[in-house]
């Protein structure tokens, strides 16, 4: 029912209409300037829930990417350390084969080989103690600083006998260093130094000490070649394992990168406005607001007073 229209009801209706128009305009302006479709949860509670979920996944994805980069660093450092180790072992094998030629070797030549082998041993120790960001890559979770303790030499003052203690493994066996690269995926990034380089009398250092002492005492070193070969096999095996894990990390990095793009798309589609649409609405709203203002200005002015003389 259209009731009686008075100056007061006309003014109330006009101000209500203008207020509603201005409110819609203000909302569109705030959307256009903030670029956000949701500023408070009540704008869209469901989308808010999705937004929180997607943002949490984005943070996790960024963390997994950081973890994968760290894992790649570990693995490529291990890769070059093992490549180095293989080269050194190959050189040791060559020298040992050379030293095994009893007939042609003079004591001086054998001593030269022994000296070079001793030098190679310290190179090997350096490779075994390779570090990545302050962590020994072959020491597992140990905090000893080095994976293999340095060789110690003690001389008995009374007898003059020199005792050499070969480098010993200081790491924690059985514990591995893992990097989480997915909700349920971890990658082991360390390599067990005790397996690659051996421990105690079985270690590569004791083996070299044995070859050196055989060479110096004139014992044929031919039987040692088999030991070197077996050590080389072990190192190559570990190297292959590192390569496999490196490939896994690289695949994961690809997956994480594409997930990052798709998560950002999801977040944007939930939270962000369609700018074109909002600007179109803003223009339309602006026109209708101005129309309302103009019409109000025309309608609210005249009364009968204006026409009475």
């Amino acid at each position: 029912m259209l009731g009686r229209v008075t100056n007061q009801t006309a003014a109330m209706a006009a101000s209500r209409g203008l207020q509603a128009n201005a409110a819609r305009l203000a909302q569109l302006q705030s959307q256009a300037s903030s670029q956000k479709a949701i500023t408070v949860p009540s704008d869209d509670p469901t989308a808010t829930g999705q937004s929180l979920q997607v943002r949490a996944e984005q943070t996790q994805n960024a963390q997994y990417t950081r973890n994968a980069t760290d894992a790649e660093g570990w693995l490529s450092t291990t890769d070059s350390a093992l490549s180095n180790t293989t080269n050194i072992l190959n050189r040791i094998r060559d020298l040992t084969v050379q030293g095994a030629n009893d007939g042609t070797m003079s004591a001086t030549s054998r001593e030269a080989i022994a000296t070079e082998l001793t030098g190679l041993k310290s190179d090997l120790l350096a490779a075994a103690n390779t570090q990545f960001q302050g962590r020994s890559i072959f020491a597992g979770t140990s905090d000893a600083g080095v994976a293999f303790s340095p060789e110690t030499t003690t001389t008995d003052p009374s007898t003059g006998v020199v005792t050499t203690v070969p480098p010993a493994f200081t790491g924690t066996t059985g514990s591995t260093v893992q990097r989480r690269v997915g909700d349920s995926t971890t990658v082991a990034v360390d390599t067990d130094g005790s397996k690659v380089f051996g421990t105690g009398s079985d270690s590569v250092f004791s083996m070299i000490d044995g070859i050196v002492s055989d060479l110096r005492s004139g014992v044929n070193v031919n039987p040692q070649i088999a030991k070197i070969d077996s050590r080389l096999d072990t190192v190559r095996g570990a190297w292959a394992g590192v390569g496999t894990r490196q490939a896994q990390v690289e695949r994961t990095q690809d997956t994480l990168a594409s997930a990052s793009t798709s998560l950002e798309n999801q977040r944007s589609s939930v939270e962000d406005i369609d700018l074109g649409q909002v600007i179109l609405k803003l223009q339309t709203q602006n026109v209708s607001y101005q129309a309302a203002l103009a019409v109000t200005a025309k309608v609210i002015q005249p009364t009968l007073m204006d026409f009475l003389k």
């Binding site: 009731g3 009686r4 229209v5 008075t6 100056n7 007061q8 009801t9 109330m12 209706a13 209500r16 949701i38 408070v40 949860p41 009540s42 704008d43 869209d44 509670p45 469901t46 808010t48 829930g49 937004s51 929180l52 979920q53 943002r55 949490a56 943070t59 996790q60 960024a62 963390q63 950081r66 973890n67 760290d70 960001q133 302050g134 962590r135 020491a139 597992g140 979770t141 140990s142 905090d143 790491g171 924690t172 059985g174 514990s175 260093v177 893992q178 990097r179 989480r180 909700d183 971890t186 939270e271 009364t303 009968l304 007073m305 009475l308």
Partner: protein, 477 residues
């Protein structure tokens, strides 16, 4: 047959009626923009002719116009509609304001909200797991943990502040209700006396109508019209105003959020302490519903502020419990096991009592006992809490979305109630407000009536002049 002077009297009555009419038009025009003013009309009727006696003969004519009174053109139905919609609008606008403030304080969704901080906290654990014992990631983790502690405490504090401000506003509203009641009772007395003496009480009725509308906005209730012109205002079924007496109400209960569970805030009649006033609407009822204690069964149906506060407490407790449970299984760099990461003070609500125990990297138990000191598997397990089905993040997200849904419903409800109230107000104004065009037309009508009556007098005067001064003077010069 009418007397000569009788006609003069009729003309005088016309003059007087027209000038009363002009006076009422003047009153209407000068009050055209006064809030609550109801337009008035002079009511007139014609005076019947003197009835012929048994032996008199001839035609008699009426004796002019009588001014019967000044009518107030109010519509009781429209007034009742305004009151009932004002009560609903008062209730829902308080609730929608409270929920809007609450959800704005959550800072969600966005980078400054608690959900982002929680995600960063779990990430920081993963960084610690990558480099156990290192200062940089440990410092970042502790910073993130402290920032969560502060955010939870600040969130709880702002809910508590909002509660306190609602608590003091309900006191003000109750005082206003008491003042309105007293004024209505006072006006009732004046109106009754005025009606008994036959004077015009229209302006007093306008004032009283505004006050009853204000009472409806505050506390709902109903208005009963009595035969002597007074009204009774009933709130929650009991009389706030009965004739010339007004009863008062008071707000009792805790002054702080923490005490509200033990001593809920309620509105009571001053003369009947302990019994709550059963309000059916209005902003006092809205504020009391916001101040209500949290539900004891955990269904989340209690007062919104208390529920929000208990959500903060639940989040703090869950965070501390889940992180500590895993942290206790780990070993620090020095090998110590069974240490906690978070601690909850028993003397304060969980949200305010939460604090971080470790102060440097050496106190963070990131390693599994028995493995090397640089093991990060326990830190990784804590990181895993963030993606588990029982993560504190989920508790927070469900709190945020449920607050959002409540706020959305309250805002829509409030919009609806406000529209209804505006419509009722427009309906009322359409009947009761002054239309200047109409008043101008009335002005002209009464002006012309006055001129006509004056001309009538002139005519009678001239007739009498002819009769008295010029009769029998034929030929005299």
């Amino acid at each position: 047959m009418t007397s000569t002077f009788g006609t003069l009297n009729t003309a005088y009555r016309g003059l007087s009626a027209a000038s009363t009419g002009l006076g009422v038009v003047g009153e209407n025009i000068s009050n055209a923009s006064v809030d609550g003013y109801t337009r008035q009309r002079v009511t007139t009727s014609s005076i019947e002719a003197v009835q012929n006696g048994l032996f008199t003969k001839g035609t008699t004519i009426g004796q002019g116009v009588s001014v019967d009174g000044v009518a107030r053109l109010a519509d009781a139905t429209a007034d009742a509609q305004v009151r009932s919609t004002a009560s609903a609008a008062g209730y829902s606008s308080v609730r929608s304001d409270a929920l809007s403030t609450l959800e704005t304080g959550l800072n969600e969704p966005g980078t400054s909200g608690l959900s982002t901080q929680l995600s960063n906290f779990w990430s920081a654990w993963s960084d610690v797991s990558n480099a156990p014992g290192k200062t940089a990631p440990a410092t970042a983790l502790l910073g993130q943990a402290n920032s969560i502690v502060q955010t939870i405490a600040a969130g709880y504090q702002s809910v508590s502040d909002q509660w306190s401000s609602a608590r003091s506003s309900v006191d003000t509203l109750a005082t206003q209700l008491n003042q309105d009641g007293a004024q209505i009772a006072d006006l009732n007395t004046q109106i009754r006396t005025g009606l008994q003496t036959g004077s015009n009480v229209n302006e007093l009725l306008d004032k009283r109508s505004l006050l009853t509308e204000d009472v409806a906005k505050l506390a709902g209730g109903t208005v009963h019209q009595n035969t002597d012109g007074t009204v009774d205002v009933l709130v929650g079924g009991n009389a706030l105003v009965s004739g010339d007496t007004a009863r008062t109400v008071q707000v009792t209960g805790a002054k702080t959020l923490d005490g509200s569970a033990a001593s809920p805030v309620q509105l009571e009649w001053t003369h009947r302490p302990g019994a709550s006033v059963g309000l059916d609407g209005g902003s006092i009822a809205g504020t009391l519903s916001v101040l209500a204690p949290a539900s004891t069964d955990g269904s989340g149906t209690g007062g919104v502020l208390a529920e929000a506060a208990s959500s903060y407490n639940a989040l703090a407790t869950q965070l501390a419990t889940t992180v500590n449970a895993v942290h206790e299984t780990g070993a620090t760099a020095s090998g110590a096991t069974g240490t906690d990461f978070f601690t909850l003070s028993t003397s304060a609500p969980a949200a305010l009592g939460l604090s971080v125990l470790p102060t440097d990297a050496s106190q963070i138990a990131s390693a599994a006992p028995g493995s090397g000191a640089l093991d990060g598997s326990v830190a990784d397990k804590i990181h895993q809490i963030g993606i588990s089905a029982t993560a504190p993040d989920k508790t927070w997200a469900s709190f945020v979305t449920s607050t959002g849904s409540l706020a959305k419903a309250a805002i829509t409800g409030s919009d609806r109630a406000t529209t209804a109230a505006t419509n009722a107000k427009t309906q009322q104004a359409s009947g009761a407000s002054v239309d200047l065009d109409e008043e101008n037309v009335n002005l002209l009508t009464f002006q012309h009536a006055y001129q006509g009556a004056a001309r009538m007098m002139t005519a009678v005067d001239s007739m009498l002049d002819t009769l008295i001064n010029h009769m029998g003077l034929v030929g005299m010069s």
